[in-house]
């Protein structure tokens, strides 16, 4: 186990800050793509490192720290999504104002064909599967276990995400 991780496990803040500096870019990129929103990504990245600090004592050498942290980040974001979904079901929209701001009714303009933007605009379920499969390299079985959907649903969501992205990139 690396010296930094050992020191952080003993409560050394400086060591944990160095671990943050080493891994924050990867974690933030993952949160940004899964959440599709910079403000949410910031909050989720905070959550990941706070959770990592709390759970660091349980980290063992069986996996690399980066892999452990990456998996923790995925779990944090997906758990947040599930909790948010439950909250949303308790919210009733009665006003007739547009429910989603920022997505043009007529689709994406050529200026918006940036891939990151197009990924962020995917429906949440399709975006999660696309990011986990095509960018992060997880398999459908793993994605199904992490997200609580069936492997077949994961495949369908991936197909849908790619179709939507292709459509966006063709405009």
């Amino acid at each position: 186990m690396s010296e930094l991780v050992l020191r952080a496990q003993r409560g050394d803040h400086d060591a944990f800050e160095q671990l943050y500096r080493l891994h924050a870019g990867r974690v933030y990129a993952l949160c940004l793509r899964l959440a599709g929103d910079a403000v949410e990504a910031r909050r989720l990245t905070q959550d990941v490192f706070v959770r990592a600090w709390e759970r660091l004592a349980g980290f063992r050498e069986e996996s690399a720290f980066s892999s452990w942290l990456h998996r923790l980040a995925v779990n944090v974001v997906l758990a947040d999504r599930r909790a948010a979904g439950r909250r949303e079901r308790r919210v009733v929209i009665e006003a007739d104002a547009p429910a989603y701001e920022g997505v043009p009714a007529g689709g994406w303009t050529p200026e918006q064909l940036d891939l990151e933007g197009a990924i962020a605009a995917l429906p949440p379920g399709a975006r999660a599967v696309f990011v986990l499969f095509d960018i992060e390299g997880y398999g459908h079985e793993e994605i199904a276990a992490m997200t609580g959907i069936a492997p077949g649903t994961s495949k369908a969501q991936l197909h849908r995400a790619r179709r939507l992205l292709r459509k966006a990139l063709e405009r």
């Binding site: 949410e40 104002a97 547009p98 989603y100 197909h159 990139l169």
Partner: protein, 350 residues
């Protein structure tokens, strides 16, 4: 890793673009500072006790006692007390468990509602019904997360501002901010969060408790208080308090101003600042606490039975008894005024 999904639908263009995506994205500046602030909360409590005693006990009792009607002892009829108790319990249960959903009832323009997050555009004002408890007006450029409707109503204000008007028993409505939590004790107030996570609360009816980092501030009507990330809630101050007093409080609460800042607060204080000074009792020690005590006693003498020694020892009965008679404390209002204020808030007059 088995890639058992067909690659046929991944076009060459899309594949090339995916390949070019960076594995890392630089996180926003200041993120580590935010994490450090949260890590402090995540760690076990420090061995030394905070300077401020837990206020929750004192004010939970006070808040629950004050809002409705005359003090119970004046009725003197046990059946009436029992009936009132049953009615209160029934009312609380009704408020807690009925009509729990949030509803966006009005919006002046575009807003986003997704995954429990309500975000208003630059020119949009929205109004939320908080179950049966009251309503929240959401200002433009505000991000509000709806966290829970049971057992209490709880939301998080990430940035922007809201105006809440709540008519319910205390502690059914909570607003979390990055630097503290506002606990409704039966009131109307505005709460604004700046981009750095600090907040300013201004209470117009009733009073609000601010909690954070193991300490509390109770902010009565016509008073305000700041919160900052990494600090306990700021000391409440009267809206019409002098600028010099506000500046000294800011130094004391958030800039490590220490004893010199307290001395400046005492010099700038007037007879109207009793609530502010009362809060400083629990945030100072030794000779400085004694100086605060003497200044406060000169403004509002402690009631019978409250000794200097008990106050300096932060005895909670003594502190609560003194709080109840301080000028500006909600406890000093006659019952009919308190009832009128609550009725006004309920009808939307205030």
């Amino acid at each position: 890793m088995k890639r058992d999904s067909t690659e046929a639908d991944l076009t060459r263009d899309l594949r090339a673009r995916l390949h070019a995506l960076p594995r890392e994205v630089a996180p926003p500046p200041g993120l580590w500072g935010d994490i450090v602030a949260r890590l402090a909360d995540a760690r076990p409590a420090p061995a030394t006790a905070p300077a401020v005693p837990s206020r929750a006990w004192g004010f939970r009792r006070t808040a629950a006692r004050v809002p409705f009607g005359a003090p119970a002892s004046r009725w003197g009829v046990r059946p009436a007390l029992a009936a009132a108790l049953v009615l209160c319990l029934a009312g609380t249960l009704w408020l807690r468990h009925g009509g729990g959903a949030w509803r966006v009832t009005q919006a002046s323009g575009a807003y986003t509602l997704s995954d429990g997050l309500l975000a208003t555009a630059a020119s949009t004002r929205a109004r939320l019904d908080v179950g049966r408890l009251g309503e929240v007006e959401v200002a433009p450029r505000t991000r509000l997360r709806l966290l829970a409707t049971r057992p209490d109503h709880r939301l998080a204000l990430d940035r922007g501002s809201i105006a809440a008007r709540i008519s319910a028993p205390p502690r059914l409505f909570y607003v979390e901010t990055p630097s503290g939590t506002a606990v409704d004790l039966g009131c109307a107030y505005t709460l604004a969060v700046d981009p750095r996570g600090g907040s300013l609360i201004h209470v117009t009816v009733g009073w609000v408790e601010l909690d954070g980092r193991g300490a509390s501030s109770v902010v009565p009507f016509n008073m305000s208080a700041y919160t900052r990330r990494g600090f306990r809630p700021g000391t409440p101050f009267l809206d019409r308090a002098s600028d010099s007093l506000k500046a000294a409080l800011d130094r004391f609460d958030f800039e490590g101003g220490g004893d010199a800042a307290v001395a400046a607060v005492l010099r700038a204080s007037t007879a109207n600042d009793a609530i502010t000074l009362w809060h400083l009792l629990g945030r100072t020690t030794g000779a400085v606490r004694l100086a605060v005590y003497r200044r406060l006693a000169a403004i509002a003498a402690p009631p019978a039975g409250v000794s200097e020694a008990s106050v300096l020892a932060l005895n909670h009965r003594a502190l609560t008894a003194w709080w109840d008679v301080l000028p500006g404390s909600p406890g000093t209002l006659p019952w009919w005024q308190r009832a009128a204020v609550r009725l006004g808030a309920w009808l939307g007059v205030f």
